[in-house]
Symmetry: C2
């Protein structure tokens, strides 16, 4: 199997019956927008202050061209065009002959060109105008009849910029006369995990004699099972492997992310190899079970049902989910690949997070994303590409959704990281208006049940009892995020966020100097989501008056950014740790959001584009340590004379017990440290929290604008914690 690169050019036409007037070099994988911008010498889109210039591209037909150069082929060999995906509706033609037409970017294309094309032929991929542009008004509802990621139609952290084009690898491939068309596998685990039984199914391109061999190789490189079968003119072979005491695949923090390799090879009768495939396999079970305390019914008549199960059990062990929402690393998913994924995923691991929710507004990531998550032990909650819309019930939409969801399931099911399927984002909420009766969601449930019945399926998030929000340090109702989380009782927090500004350096690169300070709701700040990013909220996401209400009027951009980032850090600590304190009724804490697809002036991400951690990243990392001393404090700002109160906790979700120790709680005012409390705690069981004493301390008159609560764990300084609070001077 040899692969050959293709050189592409691209041009546009408003009339599909006439050819483009001009062709420019095209990067594949990529997007037509980027190719055109490069040819025109426009600034990089992420530095561009005039994204309006991309608008006309939405309504064009884009024609990719490449001249086929046939490689040397032995007799009987086949030449394939292979393409991972074209965004969004397209056709493929050689000369005048249309080989293929498709709607949907997640279904790959494989076309056997051997008898159809000749050396020197012109191969074209014609990409249609973006879907939904005929729908009024402009905005996210335009995506409601297509399986196109909705975020690109404009979101509170994403400009309107709708990608088109070949977004995954496209190449020529020479294959043997007889080759492996498809390798599928499935496995069952004994209830006590003592045996894994692997079944495989190999589909050949045609009936074949010769032999098919497979072997299963354990993580240390030893072959643990395998077989070689003689083929009797068959084109499907079913096989089987068994592993006793398999090394299980565990998410980060619970054990090794062990991966086996399944190697399958097809041989001629003379022993020469025709084709081979390799597949990584992680053995694990995954279930959603009832949250502790959620299966007790209300006693009062009439009774309703219990909330749905949201506690994740991997390999029979409850995993407290500490996660983050993944929104894609770039506005153009075509340019994002392993290089973009890896540093971000390493940051995920570095912050002790064990799950990413791949949010349904964004594109489903490329295969390397899931390969990395398999290796790093990061669990994946995958939304299908539906978000905040009332998706259509028409046969046309359902057909496309059926095709695309099957392709997504086929691509992701082999990955042990894939822990939860979800129909999409906030579809049962008022702003979407879908219900349990909508066919799109019944179809997704059907497809997941048929193709991956052992992975949990949620129709959407939130389901009943699960929370989305808040998204501000202090909400419109005046409640701080401290209070919001302490007053909530959710079985899982799947989105919660606190906005924070980008670094001063980044802001200087984004916003013209004369607009930078003081920030105003126009120009760069507006374009970069600093203001008016959310409906009806002028100050989101920069929130300058919230900052000012705590710290007074900032004198400089540095002061504003510092204070804004402090709020974000403090808010995230309060929210993550409060969700952890609500364990075991609460089983998940997933913040909104991890990253951003382009540089925003401010938003809820803890890592700025492309992979630049904000101070809040460190805060989340502190709060997500498996074991730590923690404080529940009811508010952020304090005045002299008030009695500061902090309920002390030891939080532990490590899979092992921890020894008793002593927590020393101090308050630091104006660089003076006051000892407030010493707490001796006994040993704590695996995955259990311990509630300790309440610290009370009268706040003195101080000079600084902040003070610090410090919890030192004597024997384990790595479990110690610090919390900033705001001091409000007397008027």
């Amino acid at each position: 199997m040899r692969r050959y690169h293709l050189d592409w050019t691209v041009g546009h036409t408003s009339d599909p019956s006439s050819a483009p007037e001009r062709f420019v070099p095209a990067s594949v994988p990529g997007a037509v927008q980027l190719d055109w911008a490069r040819a025109e010498g426009w600034p990089h889109y992420w530095q561009d202050a005039a994204l309006e210039r991309y608008e006309w591209m939405e309504d064009m037909y884009w024609v990719y061209q490449t001249t086929l150069s046939f490689p040397e082929m032995e007799s009987g060999q086949r030449l394939f065009l292979v393409c991972g995906g074209v965004d969004y509706r397209f056709l493929v033609r050689v000369g005048e002959r249309i080989l293929h037409g498709q709607e949907g970017m997640f279904t790959p294309v494989e076309l056997d060109l051997t008898e159809i094309a000749e050396d020197g032929d012109l191969l074209e991929v014609v990409v249609f105008p973006i879907p939904g542009s005929e729908i009024e008004p402009r905005g996210r509802t335009q995506a409601r009849k297509s399986v196109k990621p909705v975020v690109s139609y404009g979101w509170d952290f994403h400009p309107r910029l709708v990608p088109s084009g070949i977004w995954k690898e496209a190449f020529l491939e020479v294959r043997s006369r007889r080759h492996i068309r498809q390798l599928d596998f499935d496995y069952t685990l004994e209830e006590d995990f003592s045996v894994a039984r692997l079944s495989l199914s190999v589909e050949l391109n045609a009936s074949c004699v010769g032999t098919l061999e497979w072997s299963l190789i354990d993580p240390s490189g030893e072959v643990v099972d395998g077989q070689s079968v003689a083929l009797a003119e068959q084109d499907v072979v079913d096989g089987f492997c068994e592993v006793h005491d398999p090394e299980l695949w565990w998410p980060r923090g619970y054990g090794e992310a062990s991966l086996y390799s399944l190697v399958v090879s097809l041989h001629e009768s003379d022993g020469s190899t025709l084709d081979s495939r390799q597949q990584k396999i992680g053995f694990r079970s995954c279930r959603l079970v009832m949250n502790d305390g959620a299966s007790r019914d209300a006693l009062r008549a009439p009774r309703s049902r219990n909330v749905p199960p949201m506690a994740l059990e991997v390999n029979g062990r409850r995993i407290f989910v500490k996660g983050s929402n993944w929104v894609g690393p770039d506005i153009f998913p075509g340019v994002a690949g392993e290089d973009a994924y890896r540093p971000l995923l390493e940051k995920v691991v570095g912050a002790h997070l064990n799950l990413l929710r791949c949010w349904g507004g964004a594109a489903v990531s490329k295969p390397s994303f899931f390969d990395l998550c398999d290796q790093l032990g990061i669990l994946i909650w995958q939304d299908f590409p539906l978000a905040c819309n009332k998706y259509d019930d028409s046969p046309e939409y359902l057909d496309t959704l059926n095709q695309e969801s099957i392709s997504i399931i086929k691509a992701l099911k082999p990955h042990p990281c894939l822990a939860i399927w979800c129909g999409g984002n906030e579809l049962y909420n008022e702003w979407s208006g879908m219900t349990d009766q909508h066919k799109a969601l019944r179809l997704l449930n059907r497809n997941c049940f048929e193709r991956d019945p052992d992975t949990p399926f949620l129709p959407t998030s939130p389901v009943m009892g699960v929370g989305h929000g808040g998204y501000l340090f202090r909400g419109k109702d005046g409640r701080e995020c401290f209070e919001v989380m302490q007053q909530a009782r959710c079985s899982a927090y799947i989105e919660f966020g606190v906005p924070g500004p980008a670094s001063v350096d980044r802001l200087r690169s984004l916003i013209p100097e004369d607009e930078l300070f003081p920030p105003r709701p126009n120009g760069g700040w507006l374009r970069r989501h600093g203001f008016c990013a959310r409906d009806g909220e002028e100050e989101s996401w920069l929130c300058p008056s919230v900052v000012e209400s705590y710290f007074g009027h900032p004198e400089s951009i540095e002061e504003l950014v510092g204070w804004g980032q402090l709020l974000q850090s403090s808010g995230y600590k309060a929210m993550f740790e409060e969700a952890r304190r609500q364990k075991p009724y609460c089983s998940m804490a997933i913040n909104w959001c991890l990253n951003e697809p382009w540089p925003a002036a401010a938003n809820s991400s803890i890592i700025a584009w492309p992979c630049d951690p904000k101070p809040s990243y460190k805060a989340v990392r502190q709060s997500c340590r498996p074991t730590l001393a923690s404080a529940r404090v009811r508010k952020f700002a304090w005045r002299a004379g008030e009695t500061f109160e902090a309920e002390l906790w030891m939080l532990n979700d490590a899979p092992h017990a921890i020894k008793g120790d002593r927590v020393e709680a101090c308050l630091r005012f104006d660089d003076d440290e006051s000892f407030a409390l010493g707490w001796y705690f006994d040993s704590i069981e695996a995955d259990e929290n311990l509630l300790g004493p309440v610290l009370r301390f009268k706040i003195p008159e101080i000079q600084s604008q902040t003070f610090l609560l410090i919890l030192k764990v004597e024997g384990r300084p790595d479990w110690s914690s610090e919390y900033d609070f705001c001091f409000i001077p007397s008027e």
Copy 2:
């Protein structure tokens, strides 16, 4: 197509390899228990005080025998054994040859005997021991691995008595050489209901020449569309009919239950008829949409989802569901047929009810039940046969459930009455322990979606926001059903009940004279669910101390029954009318239950076995009139000096506006009528209620134990209402 009756005998053996020692005549359809009891001269089971004598039958193999008598057949004709269903696991054999084996009672059997059997052969049906008898403890959990109605394992209104045997028609059928194997149809309706497009698919038993004709006949007998096609050696024919301005099928109270007939016939090339089929078709659309006021989200963060939609829309019109739970008309579903169904269904219509929920604890009814509901305009909510258990996730159970659910869907989908599919009863509650992730319910959703996607599907009842209960006039927490319902806010009430005793005559026939009065928790009262019917409630369902707390110690069985029935009637009025007052947020009021499968001394049914309405039936009929004057009163019992309060309403769910009128509200104490209030109300829109004034009246000292609130509507005495209340004398 000619049918031939078969004469059966039945015997039992504990060892399937040896034949029964004794055979007795068998009634088919029926049950082996009834055949054996008849042969033994036992009393009818419903009069039997010793049902223990049936227990051993559960563990037997029951062998049905019949000697085949081949009818005259022309050359090429085929002889079929046709059987609608055998309960539960069975095999069919001719001599030593096993023709068929099956688990599941809802999948019919058709066997072509032509080449397999000969005149005079012995045909046997061997029925296996009941499923689950090996599971501990004895009781409903024994049904959790089978698709066997769970009620027969014992319920609070049903003794343990588990039917076995051929429970649907079984006969020989001579078919033409070429005949119609299957007729399927589907239709779509234009959104404005202006056109119905019917597609049909006719499957023949083998390729055929000749012609296939079909015609669609409207309710008045006119042919509206049809076609005749010449067959070119084909075994499947797809056809099409179109109806402009179709007469829609409407549920009772909203229009005619219009039925078209589709007639399909197969003809030889010479024109002679080979076979024909007739199918009734009702054109209607059915959806569950959001309840009014349910799609507004809570504003406080974090937000969860909205409750699921429970408002039923038929042909684009919201239908306020007034319904009742159907629990089967007999312990032995095999003996229930049209004769049992018809009088009960006529009572349903007579009480202005428009929907029956066919409860998942009982068997799915026979075809004549659904035919009658089609004719009478009664909507059907069909639970699959799962109830109050944690059903198995094993491949064996899922296979059977798959087969049985597909058979049920195929049988019921053609009926326009079929409005809602539901996975089963109370599966998400604590006592069942199933969740959204259980495969059984995902499988049912999948099968309904694939085979009947336009009919709503609920995984179970209750879903979130929907209520089941209460079930007592006054609950353990001291709240009367008046209060329970007024304090509740459910989008639908799918079960609520008030128990009442059977008539004195019936009680005399059930309970030995010396046990009859005063009732005690043993003997006949215990057997007949008068006491200890529900876990932890000694007094259910007779509830003598509740009766006594209102009316004092009864002097006779007549007094006890009279008071008990008054409580049931008053309770049902309060609950049905309160649910109606909570419209439009509330969309359904379905009481538990309509009927009973054997005579109970007391329970929540409004019609005693077999079809004997209790006084509460009249009460429900009053409360379910499309239009009535109604009173919301907070409690049932009043003392002298208290101020009686009644909030007056006009309830209207008629599909047309009503004219204004005058309500005169009176209180009748000791036969003296006191005028309390006159209320002039204006015209009221279709399907709208009107809240009127609050009546206040100081209760005088009276002699009677009850007093009456009378609401007279001057121009429309048929809208007038009366309510009984209890007077508690001063001590």
